[in-house]
Symmetry: C2
Subunit: 321 residues, 2 copies
């Protein structure tokens, strides 16, 4: 096994070496711009690591790793158009820097390029690769649709929220972990366990994101603390608070919808505190971490590989950024 940083360096090198056609520049420049913007490279990193954990070589899976990173960045690009987001990773989004048509078309091309990168696989594995990749992509679109549907709904349950983030975020981590095992020629059983590891990890990861946005350390967290509260985003914290609040607190939160002030953040946070929402969130994160580690325990891989995936999961829920 390599270190996390070594895997990420391999990805970044592969990203830098993608051979884009010279023209039309309007199509390919925004793609290079999007991929060069960085990001955690979490998905391709997990993919390469699970491939090596199962006895495969980096070369067996680097195309799929790149394909998954391409796909992930495509979803961000199109989500930013749908959400009318101005900035991503400290730079203007593609539809701001160029225009909306460019963002749509370049995103489409990224999805097809992801499919091309996925297809670089032995004949006897290709059907499984495509089924895993395409099936995961469909779930992610479903998750995005539910997320958009939730914006105009006031009765979203915690169970619905968890299902939404499972689809929108977690299955792609499951796909990454399973894809690496698949490319290494691992058994069906190992593949499925890696998938479940990734999905449970993804749930813990997204809930940590929700928690950090309100309770993170402003000195370490990349974005402004309280952004979700300001934007009335239906996170685990808000949904849980609305479920447990008495009428007065609920009406208070409802009356603040659409407003934007530091006082709003402070007041909603104090309601969360009174209701014990943060503790409940931490408990749920811990339970998904436990599930993640249980799945990992069941996989027959070398001790150093187990340590790698255990450390990664544990750090995911203690991270501050």
């Amino acid at each position: 096994m390599k270190t996390q940083k070594e895997y990420i360096d391999i990805i970044n090198k592969a990203v830098a070496e993608i051979p884009y056609p010279e023209s039309p520049r309007g199509l390919y420049e925004p793609i290079a711009y999007t991929l060069d913007c960085g990001g955690k490279r979490m998905r391709p990193m997990l993919l390469l690591a699970s491939c090596e954990a199962c006895g495969g070589r980096i070369d067996d899976a680097v195309s799929q790793a790149l394909g998954l990173e391409m796909f992930h960045n495509f979803t961000l690009l199109h989500d930013d158009v749908m959400d009318r987001a101005d900035m991503r990773r400290g730079k203007p989004t593609v539809h701001r820097r160029w225009n909306e048509s460019t963002a749509i078309l370049s995103g489409d091309a990224m999805l097809t390029m992801a499919g091309q990168l996925m297809s670089v696989a032995p004949d006897d594995r290709l059907a499984d690769v495509m089924a895993l990749f395409n099936g995961t992509a469909m779930e992610i679109y479903e998750g995005q649709q539910y997320d958009m549907d939730f914006e105009s709904r006031q009765d979203v349950t915690v169970a619905e929220y968890i299902e939404m983030i499972r689809l929108k975020t977690s299955v792609l981590l499951g796909c990454a972990c399973e894809m690496g095992a698949l490319m290494a020629g691992a058994s069906d059983e190992v593949r499925k366990a890696f998938y479940r590891y990734g999905v449970a990890l993804g749930l813990a990861f997204q809930l940590q994101d929700d928690w950090l946005d309100t309770y993170g350390d402003p000195a370490v967290f990349g974005k402004n603390i309280g952004g979700d509260i300001l934007n009335d985003k239906k996170t685990y914290l808000l949904i849980t608070a609305m479920n447990r609040a008495d009428d007065e607190s609920r009406h208070r939160i409802e009356s603040l919808i659409g407003t934007r002030s530091d006082e709003k953040v402070a007041e909603v946070k104090s309601i969360y505190d009174r209701l014990g929402v943060a503790d409940e969130c931490r408990t749920l994160i811990e339970s998904y971490l436990a599930e993640t580690l249980r799945e990992l325990d069941s996989i027959d891989i070398p001790a150093d590989a187990k340590a790698f995936f255990r450390d990664y999961a544990e750090r995911s829920i203690t991270r501050q950024s």
Copy 2:
């Protein structure tokens, strides 16, 4: 070989039987809406016909036929967002009937569903199927990008225009014809000849579209005659006219850009007539038909299959709608 209508009936039946998940409805309803809107079903029809021409069965290729129709409709859906088009085939476009986010996300899902349908292939053919499908898709995005680039350029040459329509329109017909042969297990040589047949046919077809928009019979043509002139669309006719016009005619056309009146259509048409642009267009269409038929002649398929593809090509350039 079956008749054109029999192939189309098979496609329409397959389209009607696509099993959409129940939810989220916001994702799947616009897809069914788009596919049910009809259209010529030209691409899947050619695909099934070339499969049978090469000795294959309908069942060998119906998934790819459906996948190509899904892909084609995805490009129309996203193009309509980029072009801000209100209507398509007599019904409101998806971004008008729902909203833009829905159009983007449902389109993305259609592209992935097209990939899923393509993947239903034997292991030893799957890599070829994916390479042909994805490579064609990339060319189509390039064509769309050039088409958008041309809107703000006044110096587009005929050669650039032909290359743009080759990418945006023709290669998908080439892909359809080759895919059918591929699924039937035809030789590389036959596959490539079918591809060239489809590309040449596509060029003739698109130029016929350009010609019809100005010179079609209003009683038969589905849309209003002169729409391209009204919208200053850079068609073969306009580009050729601008190339051959004297300064006075060129300035007259330029002075009409951005205006919309029956007089504009009549005046631009009279300039076309004076310059012999329509005749030049017909000559070019005939030469692409000749190329189409030459490619067809080189393919070793039964006489009834040859007759089918010859009739189809000939009718494509005499059609009035």
